[in-house]
């Protein structure tokens, strides 16, 4: 079955350290790719998206993501996390049938 996988359910990182969240998809063609962030009790907010072109995309809040076709991955990174980055992060894809599908999410905890 076609799917979006976020292998890490929970990541704990120290403030100021780097962060990388993994996302893999299993669709045949290159889908549209997104990363969303959800703060506690809130809806989701778009961090960045990739449709085509440069495989390294910059987003809001200092996040970036790199599309790697050979690995079917779209990992999210941030060089130095802030306490306010504690949230749940969702990778999402739009495959050929145009139905946006989300991964199960990765919860990020930031320790002082």
């Amino acid at each position: 079955a076609q799917s979006v996988t976020q292998p890490d359910i929970h990541i704990t990182v120290s403030e100021g350290a780097s962060l990388e969240l993994r996302c893999n998809y299993s669709y045949g063609a290159t889908p549209y790719l997104f990363w969303y962030v959800q703060s506690p009790g809130q809806g989701l907010q778009l961090l960045l998206k990739y449709f085509s072109g440069d495989t390294l995309v910059q987003g809001i809040k200092g996040f970036e993501a790199e599309f790697k076709r050979s690995q079917s991955s779209f990992n999210l990174r941030k060089p130095s996390v802030h306490w306010s980055d504690a949230a749940e992060y969702f990778c999402a894809v739009i495959p050929n049938d145009y139905k946006l599908s989300f991964g199960a999410g990765t919860t990020v905890t930031v320790r002082a």
Binding site: Q42, G43, S101, A104
Partner: protein, 112 residues
């Protein structure tokens, strides 16, 4: 205020009752979506709509009914609520199918 609003914010109901969750957007976005969010599953698409009077099933449509008589409204009805429908429900809208989604704040539904 402009944006996407969901009501109610919280709802408690009993099994077998009919429940309608409301979603209203002021941008005249063509696309609207209903997702449910459950621990370990991320967000799963229930139904979506490409325009007024056009709706289609998502990943988990059973037990739900939608309508879209007006562009700005996309209510979700649980015809006979079950405990398995206890979840957080998010409505979202988008101007185009491959553009970012704008999310409401969610409705937390408990079915007892």
């Amino acid at each position: 205020d402009a944006g996407i609003t969901q009501s109610p914010r919280y709802k408690i109901t009993e099994t077998g009752r009919q429940v309608t969750l409301m979603c209203h957007q002021t941008w005249s976005h063509s696309y609207m979506f209903w997702y449910r969010q459950d621990l370990g599953h991320g967000l799963r698409l229930i139904y979506y709509s490409a325009a007024a009077d056009i709706t289609d099933k998502g990943e988990v449509p059973d037990g739900y009914v939608v309508s879209r008589s007006k562009t700005e409204n996309f209510p979700l009805t649980l015809e006979s609520a079950t405990r398995s429908q206890t979840s957080v429900y998010f409505c979202a809208s988008s101007p185009h199918i491959n553009e970012k989604l704008f999310f409401g704040s969610g409705t937390q539904l408990s079915v007892l």
